[in-house]
Each structure stands twice: as structure tokens, then as C-alpha cells.
């Protein structure tokens, strides 16, 4: 019997625990200093000042101006606000109602695009990608040469870990004058992002992927990009997002982001090296196993595999029995057994897609944990195959 202390949680792409420093920073604003930042009195002004200080802190981390940040309830809302808000921010002729996205965007981006197609006459086009999930830049340039409302690309992929060459994608989008939205929910914290230098129009973040807790996120929106709000009412976020601000969450987000960036600067390479060791160990110990996504251009904490001859869910259970918690794909799609569209887009067969398992570390991963994880995976896969696999 595994006790809770012995659990090795390797599902940090699904959600990662709130950091202690973020909790300590937010706690006073959840309790004693509870005023509404919109209240005109001293307590309200104090809350407003804390809100704006946190906005400044996050803006420094992203290389943007404070006024270019809009706080949201999470990554899903940020993605929806970016896609619908930018598309509907100006009146567009029918020919320009095109949305260009990768074939493996998060359901939040897919869902927002689908809404625009159903209700506003937009057409959705998905970019070609190679077997490792890298976007075909020629295809991108061809599609952006025609009028389009928006291009949206996931920076670091939640299921396959691939990191897109965002500088080059952004350069192409800029050359054609198409607004680029980047879903950086998985990459934020891990990767250095300078939105000013990248010249992108918008970028989404989510708190619970970087240690700030759930229910808070942010959208960077470049100044001057017209936006149709998603949530109307009130003047909050300069009229771009109504609703009483969740000050504790905002403070946690700014703090956690700053700390995550500092740690990734110092330990990111160590984590990537441990990840590579993990990948090697798994591929050597599990004959026939394959890495999904790009081996080099990938999130430093992310390893994802196909284990032919198994079923991903069965491997998960066998791993859980050994105290290793991971995931068979995206945790964002509420409990379904459909093969992952991301894997299908890489040319993986439907049957093989059902054998996917994903592991995501946090910054404190160490060699003994990696060794233990490799042993558990090798045993679990052998056990499932021994039972007759799928």
C-alpha cells in the first residue's frame, strides 16, 4: 500500500500545487485586507495599489506594459477572450473571417473558433505540422498571405511537449499583418517570454500551471489591438473584463510567475537533462516505446510516450499502484476516451493513440525520483503487456 507521502506526482501539466510563497503573498489579501479595489475609501485604494503593483510585476516578467495585461479566471477564459475578442474587435469583410490555428490547439481555442464559425461566419483552417508536431512554416506563410482575422498557436504543447519556433512564426504573422495569439499556458514560467520583442498581439497564461493556484489567469493584449469584451459590466480591467477583481489570485499569479522564471533560469537545464535521462531510461527499458513530440524542441519538464501493445489507461493504473501519478493525455477534456486529436495530427494511428502516457515534472525533480519513475514505468508497461496489453 502506497501512502500519500510516497506518491510521485508527475502530472504538473494538468495542475501544479500552489507555491508556498504565492500562498503567503495572497493570504493577507484574502483575509484581513479584503476591500474591493474599486471602493473609493482608503481600504479600497490600498487594494487597488496592491492590484496594480502585481500587474506591474507580471508585466516586467513578460516584457510588456502593465496596461497590456487583463486578468481572467484562467487559461480557458484568456483563450476565449483573445480569440473571440480580437476576431470581433473590428468589423471584417467575409473574406477576412479566417482563423488559422495549429491542428492541436487546446479545446479552449478550438471551442472559441468553433463558436465564431457557428455564429459569425468565420472559417477555420488548420496548419500542416510534421511528425514531431512542428508547424510547417511554408504552409503558415501561404495561409497568412490571404486576409485573416487571427492566427493562434500553442507555444508548448500540453500533450506532446513540442515547443513551436515562436519567433519565426511571429515574424511571418507580422510580415502579413495578421494578429498572432500565443497560448503559453504550459510554457509560461518554464520558457523566457518577451512579448515586446516577439511582437505578438496576445498571449494567454494560467495560474494553476505555474504554482499560483486555480481560477486565475491573464491575457496579454498588445496596446492598440481592438477587443470586444467577453464579460461586460463595470470598468474593471479598463473596461475589457468586468467583474470584481480576484485580488488574492492576481497577487499569487504575479509572485508565482516571478519565482517560476527565476527558478527556470537557474534549474531549467538541469530539469531538461533529467527529462532526457528519463526519456532514455524509458525507451531503453520498454521495447517498442516511442517518444511523442520533438526530442529537442520541447518543454523542459515534459516527456510523452506511446507504448504499443498496451492501453494508456491501463498503464496509468499500473503506475498509480506504484505511486506514480501521471496522465494519459490532456486533463482538460473532461473524462473522455477519444483518441487525442494532437496525436492523430502527428500521423499516429487511432489505436496507437490510445497507448499514450504523459509525464510532467516540477522544478524540484531529482535523480532518485527519475530512477524510481523509470523503474515504475518499465514494470508497469511490462505488467500491462504481460496481461495481454490492450
Amino acid at each position: 500500500m502506497i501512502t500519500e507521502d510516497e506518491l510521485l506526482y508527475l502530472d504538473h501539466a494538468a495542475t501544479t500545487p500552489l507555491r508556498r510563497e504565492a500562498l503567503e503573498a495572497m493570504w493577507p489579501w484574502l483575509t484581513a485586507r479584503f476591500a474591493n479595489p474599486s471602493s473609493p475609501h482608503g481600504l479600497g485604494r490600498e487594494a487597488r495599489a496592491a492590484l496594480e503593483a502585481a500587474r506591474e510585476e507580471l508585466a516586467r516578467g513578460l516584457g510588456c506594459r502593465a496596461g497590456e495585461l487583463i486578468f481572467t479566471s484562467g487559461g480557458t477564459e484568456a483563450d476565449n477572450l483573445a480569440i473571440k475578442g480580437i476576431a470581433l474587435g473590428v468589423e471584417r469583410p467575409p473574406a477576412a473571417r479566417r482563423l488559422i490555428i495549429s491542428p492541436f490547439e487546446h479545446p479552449a481555442v478550438e471551442g472559441a473558433c468553433d463558436y465564431l464559425c457557428r455564429h459569425h461566419g468565420y472559417r477555420l483552417e488548420r496548419l500542416a505540422v510534421d511528425r514531431n508536431g512542428l508547424i510547417d512554416l511554408d504552409d503558415l506563410a501561404r495561409r497568412l498571405a490571404l486576409p485573416a482575422a487571427l492566427c493562434s498557436v500553442i507555444l508548448g504543447h500540453n500533450e506532446i511537449g513540442t515547443l513551436q519556433p515562436i519567433e519565426r512564426i511571429s515574424a511571418i504573422a507580422r510580415a502579413h499583418g495578421v494578429a498572432l495569439h500565443v497560448d503559453a499556458v504550459q510554457a509560461a514560467g518554464w520558457e523566457a517570454i518577451d512579448v515586446e520583442r516577439l511582437g505578438i498581439a496576445a498571449l494567454s497564461l494560467s495560474g494553476h500551471k505555474l504554482g499560483a493556484g486555480r481560477g486565475i489567469g491573464a491575457l496579454f493584449l498588445r496596446r492598440g489591438v481592438p477587443l470586444e469584451p467577453l464579460l461586460h459590466g463595470g470598468h474593471q480591467e479598463r473596461g475589457r473584463r468586468g467583474g470584481t477583481e480576484q485580488l488574492p489570485g492576481v497577487i499569487a499569479l504575479a509572485r508565482a510567475f516571478t519565482l517560476a522564471r527565476a527558478e527556470a533560469e537557474r534549474h531549467g537545464e538541469r530539469v531538461a537533462a533529467l527529462r532526457d535521462a528519463f526519456i532514455r531510461g524509458v525507451l531503453e527499458g520498454c521495447p517498442g516505446a516511442r517518444l511523442t513530440g520533438d526530442a529537442e524542441r520541447r518543454l523542459p519538464h515534459h516527456a510523452s510516450f506511446l507504448f504499443p501493445g498496451t492501453h494508456g489507461e491501463a498503464v496509468l493504473l499500473a503506475l498509480e499502484a506504484r505511486g506514480v501519478i501521471c496522465s494519459s493525455g490532456s486533463a482538460c477534456k473532461a473524462g473522455e476516451d477519444e483518441p487525442s486529436p494532437a496525436l492523430l495530427a502527428l500521423g499516429v494511428s487511432r489505436q496507437e493513440a490510445q497507448t499514450a502516457v504523459r509525464f510532467c515534472f516540477d522544478i524540484d525533480i531529482d535523480q532518485p525520483q527519475v530512477d524510481r519513475a523509470v523503474r515504475a514505468v518499465v514494470e508497469a508497461v511490462a505488467q500491462v503487456r504481460g496481461l495481454g496489453g490492450r
Binding site: Y9, L18, L30, A32, A35, N80, G111, G215, H235, G242
Partner: protein, 405 residues
């Protein structure tokens, strides 16, 4: 990351001496989180708690988080006598209002394009209704009567064959006035329209029995009832169809996507459960404090209630003063944390649109105080507030007399 329970700073600020600490009279803008709510939230914020993603059903920790979310859903449903499956989590009442109006109108546009609301709704409803106008829907705007309420006859007269939605608030956030939800809802239903109620200021204070009341959609917020900011819910009566506002993974039965904020939801559930237990005591104590406040302020020179007594909630008092400069009055009341309009539209010095709609002249509207009381208000605080307001008025009047002399 280290495991173990995080040692948390105290929930209340005890370091400031009472005399200089501001007196909080702005409970309608937001309430402090009840320490019991904070405790429940703390359990879900640390590594010791349940941190996994509610949607990743496959593993144990996810399952625990999901249990906590569903427990809270039941707590909220219980307060309303609703079915837990009728509760959709949102980021607050603003989102709930947007989801109700936009979601319902978009999903049912084939049946009609007309919406009825009022001119004294919260901005979350008013601005959303304007956005719907821009989208091609038609909106009729009801005006309040002098008592700050919407007359059922006014609604009856505005109903049209193509009216599909009526949206009216339960309790006005600036006046505390209470609408007759039963009469209004019955009219909407008789004409085949759905009834949405913004209950951000009412939930936990007013009995709301959705088994009995003719309400189909109802917006809730946690931070008006001793829960955290940034979490709310929309009650959606079964078989009421809405188009989601936030699309994605299909959480909340497809009505609202996004990873659920477990600690926030647990906080809201706990706050609603406490409200169910303590509503009686809270409201009785607050009613006594209001009487004390009214006795003290009512006798001051030039004092005028924005709406007559008798139709409102005890926790909100809107009182204006003739013959003083509003800005100067507010400046003189530095020790009192109160609002002059709604906190949600107090960034500018324009008179509150709610007071303007009631026909309150601009000058008095600017010199109107919204005093709102709550669970932690005390008689001593009320006495100090009366004293401060009396002194401020005396001083302002003496100064202005000296100036004009």
C-alpha cells in the same frame, strides 16, 4: 516542493489599534471572508489538501478535488432549494449575468429577440444588455418607481409576443430595495418568457426558494456573503437552454469551460452553508443596527433617505444630505470606509445612475452615502459613524457659512 501544512498568517489584522482603524461600512461592495471560510479554503490551497485537476478523473487526487467541488455545489443548491445539477460555477456574478443574458438570448433567438430589464440594474446587466443591442437584439428598459422597485404593472405593459427573457435584480446594490420576484416572474412566465434574477446582493440574506419561485436563471456571487472574490454561480433551471460564453473542454455540463478553482468553490460553498445557518441571527442583529443608525442620522439637518423605509433590506442604507458638497463630505469621513455610489462604478465623480433614475438631483446624489452593514458590524462602530458624520456636516456647514459671510 516541500510537503506539509503551510503555516498561515492570522486571518484578521490585530496589530492596528481600534481607534485609528477604518470602520468598514461597505459590505455591499464586498465582505470580509469569514474566518471559517478561510479555514476551509486553506485546506484546499496547500499540498496537504486536494490539489489535482478536477477534470483528471483518472487519478485519486483529482477525485478528491472533484468531491470537494460537488460538496460545495450541494451547499449552494441547498440554500436555494435547487438541484445541484442546476448550479454552474462562474468567476462571479458579473460572469453569471453575462452568461444568463447573452447565453439565453443567443441560444433562443429563433423564438424571439426581445429582452426586458431595468435602468437600475447592476452594470453587469446593463452593459451586457447594450452589447446584445449591438448584436441585433431589442431591449426595453423599465424605470423604477419612487420606492426604487420595478412595478409588476410596468413589466406587464412592456411584455411583447417576442419577449423571451426578463432580467430584474432581487436586491438593488445601492438602495437595498427588494423586488417582488414572485409577481414579476409570474408575469414573465404567463407571457412565455424566461425570468433571470441577479441575486448577488440577495443570496444568503433573503430566503430564495427556487422550488417555489418562478425563476429560471439566477446569478450569485460569493464575495457579497463572506466568501472569496472571483467565484460565483449561475442557477440554470433544468431544460433552460443557454449558449456558453466560455467554450472549451466542456466542463459544467458544457455550459462553462475552464479548470474549476477548487479552493474558491469550497469557499463559496462554505460561505453559503454558513449563510443558511446564520441568516436569521445576522439579519436580526443588522436590523437593530440599522434602527440605531437611522435614529442617529435621520435627525441630522438636511438628511433624506433615497428611498422610503419599508421596502428594503436592512443591511443597506442610502442617505443623502442637502446643502453640502459631496466630495468635501467624503473627504471629511476618512475614518469611515463607505461608498457614495456602487463600488462598481465609483471610479468617476458622476452621480450614480441609480440615484439619477430615481430623480435625485445631482447635488444631493453626490452627497449621498451608501452605508452597508454586515456580520461583523458593531453598535460601537455605528455610534462612531454617526458621530463622524454629524461632525463632518457641522464643520462643512460652518465653513461654508463662514465663506459666504
Amino acid at each position: 516542493m516541500p510537503t506539509g501544512i503551510v503555516a498561515l498568517p492570522p486571518t484578521r489584522n490585530t496589530s492596528t489599534p481600534m481607534s485609528s482603524a477604518p470602520i468598514y461600512l461597505d459590505y455591499a461592495a464586498t465582505t470580509p471572508v469569514d474566518p471559517r471560510v478561510a479555514q476551509a479554503m486553506a485546506r484546499h490551497l496547500g499540498l496537504d489538501g486536494t490539489f489535482a485537476n478536477p477534470a483528471s478523473r483518472s487519478h485519486m487526487l483529482g477525485w478528491l478535488a472533484e468531491q470537494a467541488v460537488e460538496g460545495a455545489r450541494r451547499q449552494v443548491a441547498d440554500l436555494l432549494n435547487a438541484d445541484p445539477r442546476e448550479i454552474v460555477w462562474t468567476s462571479g456574478a458579473t460572469e453569471a449575468d453575462n452568461l444568463a443574458l447573452i447565453g439565453y438570448m443567443r441560444a433562443n433567438r429563433a423564438r424571439g429577440r426581445h429582452l426586458i430589464t431595468s435602468t437600475i440594474e447592476h452594470k453587469a446587466v446593463i452593459d451586457t444588455a447594450h452589447a446584445l443591442e449591438n448584436e441585433g437584439f431589442e431591449v426595453s428598459w423599465l424605470k423604477p418607481s419612487a420606492d426604487g422597485r420595478i412595478r409588476p404593472e410596468a413589466l406587464e405593459a412592456a411584455m411583447r409576443p417576442d419577449t423571451i427573457l426578463v432580467s430584474l435584480m432581487a436586491v438593488n446594490n445601492e438602495l437595498g430595495t427588494v423586488n417582488d420576484l414572485e409577481a414579476l416572474g409570474n408575469i414573465a412566465h404567463r407571457h412565455g418568457a424566461v425570468f433571470h434574477v441577479d441575486a448577488a446582493q440577495a443570496a444568503g440574506k433573503l430566503a430564495l426558494d427556487l422550488e417555489r419561485l418562478p425563476i429560471d436563471l439566477l446569478s450569485l456571487s460569493a464575495h457579497k456573503i463572506y466568501g472569496p472574490k472571483g467565484i460565483g454561480a449561475l442557477y440554470v433551471r433544468r431544460d433552460t437552454r443557454i449558449e456558453p460564453l466560455i467554450h472549451g473542454g466542456g466542463h459544467e455540463r458544457g455550459m462553462r469551460s475552464g479548470t474549476l478553482a477548487t479552493h474558491q468553490i469550497v469557499g463559496m460553498g462554505e460561505a453559503f452553508a454558513l449563510a443558511e445557518l446564520e441568516r436569521g441571527d445576522d439579519m436580526q442583529r443588522i436590523a437593530e443596527l440599522r434602527t440605531r443608525l437611522l435614529e442617529g442620522l435621520g435627525e441630522l439637518e438636511g438628511a433624506r433617505l433615497s428611498v422610503p423605509e419599508g421596502h428594503g433590506m436592512a443591511n443597506i442604507l442610502s442617505i443623502g444630505f442637502d446643502g453640502v458638497d459631496g466630495q468635501a463630505l467624503v473627504m471629511a469621513l476618512r475614518r469611515l470606509a463607505l461608498s457614495t455610489g456602487s463600488a462598481c462604478n465609483s471610479a468617476s465623480v458622476a452621480p450614480s445612475y441609480v440615484l439619477t433614475e430615481l430623480g435625485v438631483p445631482t447635488e444631493r446624489a453626490l452627497a449621498t452615502l451608501r452605508i452597508s452593514l454586515g456580520r461583523f458590524s458593531t453598535a460601537t462602530e455605528i455610534d462612531t459613524a454617526i458621530e463622524d458624520i454629524r461632525e463632518a456636516l457641522d464643520k462643512l456647514r460652518t465653513d461654508s457659512r463662514a465663506q459666504s459671510a
